[in-house]
């Protein structure tokens, strides 16, 4: 077991008139080396849960452990360190930095590590080649198609060689052909030993044979696991 969640709650604007209970008492285990999909409609709480697992936000209550290390109480700089070395993120709208080239976007997560520039560039180029993006390597990311942008986002997520890849609604902005292609890439990553966590309400994702486990969510709770 890689990630364990125990009695997780997330409340936004706690104590205010617009208080919102996004996650309610969720307990869950995620296995290493598998593809797990959080399925549910918009507002079901899957993105919130994913951001807490990926240390992008903290639970209001409950405990999250990663390889038996408790994450929920760690100070920010430790969380950043875990985020940097353990997780790679692919966001729904890709969240690439506009104005930067493909290569610069891919190298970006490694900047704070102060790596040798030649080595870092070589690693980024290797990833870009692997995902068939050589042709657009020096183009600004705003020139790319949806599929290309997503592959850049995957490259960026993998540059620090994370153990776990987190993808939030990765096919929401792709057509069915590109969605299939994405699932092929996920399969490839799973076979290389990565643990993959995806949120989606797209059948092309949760019905895919690549996915090992589907967890259905509704109103901040797990409906079916």
């Amino acid at each position: 077991m890689l990630i364990s969640l125990t009695d997780i709650n997330k409340v936004f604007n706690q104590g205010k008139h617009n208080e919102y209970h996004a996650i309610r008492d969720i307990s869950l285990q995620i296995e290493a080396g598998k593809v797990t999909c959080l399925k549910g409609s918009s507002g079901s709480g899957k993105t919130t849960l994913l951001s807490m697992i990926g240390c992008l936000s903290r639970p209001t209550s409950g405990r999250i452990t990663l390889n038996d290390e408790i994450l929920s109480g760690l100070p920010e700089r430790f969380l950043t360190d875990i985020r940097r070395h353990t997780f790679g993120f692919v966001f729904q709208k890709f969240n690439l930095i506009q104005g930067l080239s493909v290569l610069e976007n891919v190298m970006l997560p490694a900047y704070p590590l102060g790596l040798n520039h030649k080595e870092l560039k070589a690693s980024a180029q290797k990833l870009i080649s692997h995902f068939n993006l050589d042709r657009v390597m020096n183009n600004p990311v705003e020139w790319l198609s949806g599929g290309e942008s997503q592959r850049v986002a995957i490259c960026r997520a993998l540059i620090n060689e994370p153990q776990i890849l987190i993808a939030d609604e990765p096919t929401a902005n792709l057509d069915s052909w590109l969605s299939q292609e994405f699932m092929g890439l996920i399969d490839e990553l799973r076979q290389s030993g990565k643990t993959i966590l995806i949120t989606s309400h797209d059948p092309a994702v949760f019905d895919s044979s690549v996915v090992n486990r589907v967890i259905e969510m509704q109103d901040g709770q797990i409906l079916q696991s």
Binding site: T48, S51, G54, L56, S57, R58, E76, R77, T80, D81, R83, R84, H85, F89, F91, N95, I97, Q98, G99, L100, E104, L108, P109, Y111, P112, L113, G114, L115, N116, H117, R156, A157, N160
Partner: protein, 376 residues
């Protein structure tokens, strides 16, 4: 340590690309910032150089000027006062002077007319300052007219004073003592004042005290007092310009504060992305620190350089009338460049430091927030 420097290089690289990505906004800020530094630095450089210049020129002037007072007003001093002063320890020379002001209604300017005893001028000859020559359009051999004592006196221009001394000689007219007495009606044996040279500057005050004890109706004016007066005049004028610039300064402060303290939605989102992909709050603070340093330092260097050229190569055309004074005969001179370390440090502190701090605070607020919350 190598990793640290590499990391800073990456951060600076990213900062530069961020600045270029928002080049319209950042260029506008840089322009306004540079303009403010330029204006402040121009005033500071100009007044500082004027003070220095005046100080250097006054170094050659006598240490003590002795004036006679009658009923609290400056009156003519008889030549026998030199004997009355007696022998004063430390005083190397005592010379009587003849000088005064003449108003020329045509050019609406006052001339300073002096009759030095060391110049060999006939009663019909005159030496004039460059400002007068320029204003009336006179050259050597032309005739210069002074109206006084209900009469008009014409003199042939023998020479025009050197441009290098224009700061103090622009309105100067030198004539012979005989001519001066004719046009002013000052009788023989009477002078405007007496100047004393004192070898040891530390004895100047003591000599002045002794003079007042011996001759109670005189007023000794010390060179250091004149220097102080120059200083306060230039400080006063500098103050006036600064007051005039307050509006511009306030506008800049509001603009810079707004730019520095208010993060746009795009900037916030970018911080969220950087944190999500593994940047620490400290990395983001470093990056924004570099951004502040690059903008403010560039503005400082460009503004200061422009001010330097403006003051020392174009004679501060924008501020000269306020800073030099309101005389009709403006001196035209090129100031010798003086750079004061303390002055640069003061300007640096008041222009760079507040901007960098104003930039860091909002970024710090954003960077300590959970990435998910920022991106949402």
């Amino acid at each position: 340590m190598i990793d640290f420097f590499r990391k800073q290089a990456y951060l600076i690289d990213f900062t530069l690309s961020s600045l270029l990505r928002r080049k319209g906004k950042n260029f506008g800020l840089l322009l306004v910032y540079t303009l403010i530094v330029f204006m402040l630095a121009s005033v500071m450089l100009f007044t500082h150089s004027l003070r220095k210049e005046a100080g250097i020129i006054l170094q050659q002037s006598p240490e003590i000027i002795v004036q006679r007072l009658v009923a609290g007003r400056h009156a003519l001093i008889p030549s026998d006062y030199i004997e009355k002063m007696g022998r004063l320890r430390g005083v190397t020379s005592k010379k009587p002077r003849l000088w005064g002001y003449f108003y020329n209604p045509v050019v609406k300017a006052n001339y300073t007319v002096m009759a030095p005893d060391h110049l060999e001028l006939s009663t019909m000859e005159v030496i004039i300052g460059a400002g007068i020559a320029r204003t009336i359009g006179l050259g050597i051999g032309d005739y210069f007219t002074l109206r006084a004592q209900n009469d008009t006196f014409s003199f042939e221009v023998k020479d025009i004073l050197d441009k290098d001394s224009e700061l103090v000689t622009t309105d100067l007219v030198l004539i012979s003592q005989k001519a001066f007495r004719i046009i002013t009606g000052i009788p023989e044996g009477q002078f405007t004042d007496i100047v004393l040279s004192v070898r040891n500057p530390r004895e100047v005050r003591k000599v002045a005290e002794k003079l007042v004890q011996k001759l109670p109706d005189i007023r000794p004016v010390l060179r250091e007092e004149i220097l102080r007066t120059y200083d306060s005049i230039f400080s006063w004028r500098q103050g006036i310009v600064f007051v005039l610039l307050i509006g511009a300064l306030l506008a800049f402060v509001i603009f810079a504060w707004d730019k520095a303290s208010g993060l746009s939605a795009e900037e916030k989102r970018e911080i969220g992305i950087l944190k999500a992909v593994g940047w620490e709050s400290g990395d983001i603070l470093h990056m924004k620190f570099w951004e502040g340093v690059i903008i403010s330092l560039s503005a400082f260097i460009l503004g200061y350089l422009a001010a330097y050229l403006h003051v020392f190569y174009s004679s501060a055309v924008l501020f000269e009338s306020v800073l030099k004074g309101w005389a009709t005969l403006y001196p035209q001179f090129r100031l010798v460049p003086f750079i004061d370390g303390l002055q640069i440090a003061t300007l640096f502190f008041f222009t760079i430091f507040p901007y960098v701090v104003a930039t860091i605070i909002p970024i710090w607020k954003a960077s300590v927030t959970d990435p998910d919350a920022i991106m949402r």
